[in-house]
């Protein structure tokens, strides 16, 4: 259970997030949408303790994240940022094995390696598991990082723009995997996403931010709506129904 209570953050006196409160629904994909600079990533970073909050609380199972023991929290929530550049030369398998750190503190047991193998297989990386990350394409890289998060086996998975720099094929691949994580493994996924159509097709719940505040939140159908979106993005976004999906046609 993750609950955000009256959280605020300012950079150099300039508020980025103001008194945001939010409850995350279990076993769902929740998408944060909104214009650039709305504070989506900042909110996500504070919820996943990458960023200190100025005030307010982020409760995980009723306890503020700052009260949690680091290793215990790392078994509960995981976060993947948009740029995952790593200075080390690692193979896919080595990277994924880092996901077991909260459980093994670096000394992986047989069971840990089994989890690593499972995660690699789940992300369809078995063939390339011994390749170095710098030899892989952007899509394969992103999959390797998601495999690491799967190996970490947390209830909640935070992702900051997981589709950044990916082509359509890989974007669809990643979103399908996230859907599977929710449906097959019962995870709760919270992500920041820019493409409202991806948000519309894959998420259960959408939180719209603007100027550091939540302007609307609700089920996908209620948010992917011309009037609501116009209010969020200050532009006309007609919504068409295509094969049962609500698609925003805003390109012209």
């Amino acid at each position: 259970m993750i609950e955000v209570k009256e959280v605020s953050k300012a950079y150099g006196g300039k508020p980025v997030i103001e008194n945001v409160s939010l409850k995350i629904r279990e076993g769902c994909i929740t998408s944060f949408i909104g214009p650039n600079g709305a504070g989506k990533s900042t909110l996500l970073s504070m919820m996943s303790r990458l960023l200190q909050k100025d005030s307010g609380e982020v409760l995980v199972d009723g306890k503020d994240i700052s009260q949690w023991k680091s290793t215990e929290l790392a078994k509960k929530i995981s976060i993947l940022k948009q740029s995952n550049h790593i200075n080390l030369r690692l193979t896919v398998r080595e990277l994924v094995s880092f996901g077991r750190f909260p459980y093994s503190q670096g000394k992986l047991t047989k069971e840990d390696w089994e989890k690593v193998d499972e995660a690699i297989a789940y992300m369809d990386l078995t063939d390339i598991q011994h390749k170095f990350l710098d030899q892989l394409s952007g899509g394969q890289n992103q999959r390797a990082f998601i495999a690491m998060v799967i190996a970490q086996n947390t209830e909640y998975i935070f992702l900051d723009e997981p589709l950044n720099n990916l082509d359509m094929k890989h974007s669809v691949q990643i979103m399908k995997v996230l859907r599977r994580l929710v449906e097959e493994l019962g995870k709760t996924v919270i992500l920041v996403i820019h493409d409202i159509n991806f948000a519309s097709c894959y998420s259960d719940y959408i939180v719209a931010l603007k100027d550091g505040r939540i302007v609307r939140e609700g089920s996908t159908e209620t948010i992917i709506d011309s009037d609501v979106l116009e209010h969020i993005y200050d532009m006309d976004i007609p919504i068409e129904l295509v094969n049962g999906n609500r698609i925003g046609v805003y390109f012209k």
Partner: protein, 313 residues
């Protein structure tokens, strides 16, 4: 991996043996303890600097930084220059090694403490801000030293100049013992953080995600690095340039990211380089050059070789 480490250990043992026993004069009962003391000092500082540089690079996720950037080397030179500038060559802090050692380590730790207080007191300031401040302070210390060096008597300056280069030739026995104790205590304390190092090298965000108490670990490691550098510099003089070289060599040679292997690897390479360098200085050049020159020469040549090989591939 094990094989490479064994290889390095054997090489280190051979170099140390060569240093101890080659050209041993007849009155070996005098020469041998002296040489042994020297080897101990070299091993100690070499190991400490390799270790400090490695974890510093891991902390900063940067392969070309050395703990030098906090400005401890320049502070060391400033203290040495100031002692002679203010109190003269024959004063107690200049001639008594114990006083000098205590003074130097004390001021260095004070400096690190201040820097640390200043930086981590305010939230939002990070490690790189600390490095930046350290760099600026280091430059300032350097300029102040130069300022005093041009004012003092040229004869006094020769004494200062002697301190600019690391020297293992007259290491004080008591200080060596104290250093061994301090470094051993620090190493023991550092053990509890060793499990974090691999994950730490992934970068801050991944480290936090994997449940490392990031700020706590980084602050502690920073203090560990500072103590190691301060003690080894106060003992033999500034040789932190060595760290950059041996740590990169260790990465090249061991080809792994695991600190369990990298740490002993880097320390052994460091010992081989320093003892070997000192051996060449003493036996080949008969003290006509310093070990810094040898290390820089060989290190430079090796880096050129690496560059050429990389550009071909």
């Amino acid at each position: 991996m094990k094989l490479k480490l064994t290889l390095l250990a054997v090489a280190a043992a051979l170099v140390i043996a060569a240093f101890l026993f080659i050209d041993l004069p007849h009155n070996w009962d005098y020469a041998l303890p002296r040489r042994f003391k020297k080897v101990l000092a070299i091993t100690l500082t070499g190991g400490a600097i390799a270790y400090a540089t490695l974890i510093f690079q891991t902390m900063t996720n940067n392969r070309i930084l050395t703990p030098n950037v906090i400005g401890l080397d320049s502070l060391y030179m400033l203290i040495q220059t100031f002692v002679i500038f203010a109190f003269g060559v024959v004063s107690l802090p200049s001639t008594n090694q114990g006083v000098n050692f205590t003074l130097t380590v004390g001021i260095m730790m004070l400096f690190v403490g201040l820097l640390y207080k200043l930086i981590f007191k305010r939230e939002g300031n990070n490690l790189f801000f600390l490095l930046l401040i350290g760099l600026v302070m280091g430059t300032m210390f350097g300029s102040m030293s130069t300022f005093m060096q041009v004012l003092i008597d040229p004869n006094d300056f020769l004494i200062v100049q002697g301190k600019m280069f690391a020297s293992f030739n007259n290491v004080n026995e008591d200080l060596l013992l104290i250093s061994v104790l301090i470094l051993a205590a620090v190493a023991l304390y550092a053990m509890r953080f060793s499990k974090y190092l691999d994950a730490l090298s992934l970068g801050k965000e991944h480290a936090v995600n994997l449940g490392i108490p990031y700020n706590f670990v980084v602050k502690n490691l920073l203090v560990i690095v500072a103590i190691l550098i301060a003690v080894s510099t106060a003992l033999v003089g500034p040789i932190t340039f060595l760290g950059l070289l041996v740590v990169n060599l260790a990465y090249q040679f061991m080809r792994t990211y695991r600190h369990r292997i990298l740490i002993p690897g880097a320390m052994l390479i460091s010992i081989i380089a320093l003892v070997g360098g000192q051996l060449i200085v003493e036996r080949v050049f008969t003290f006509e050059t310093t070990v810094s020159v040898i290390i820089n020469f060989i290190g430079g040549a090796y880096f050129l070789y690496l560059l050429l090989r990389e550009s071909k591939a």
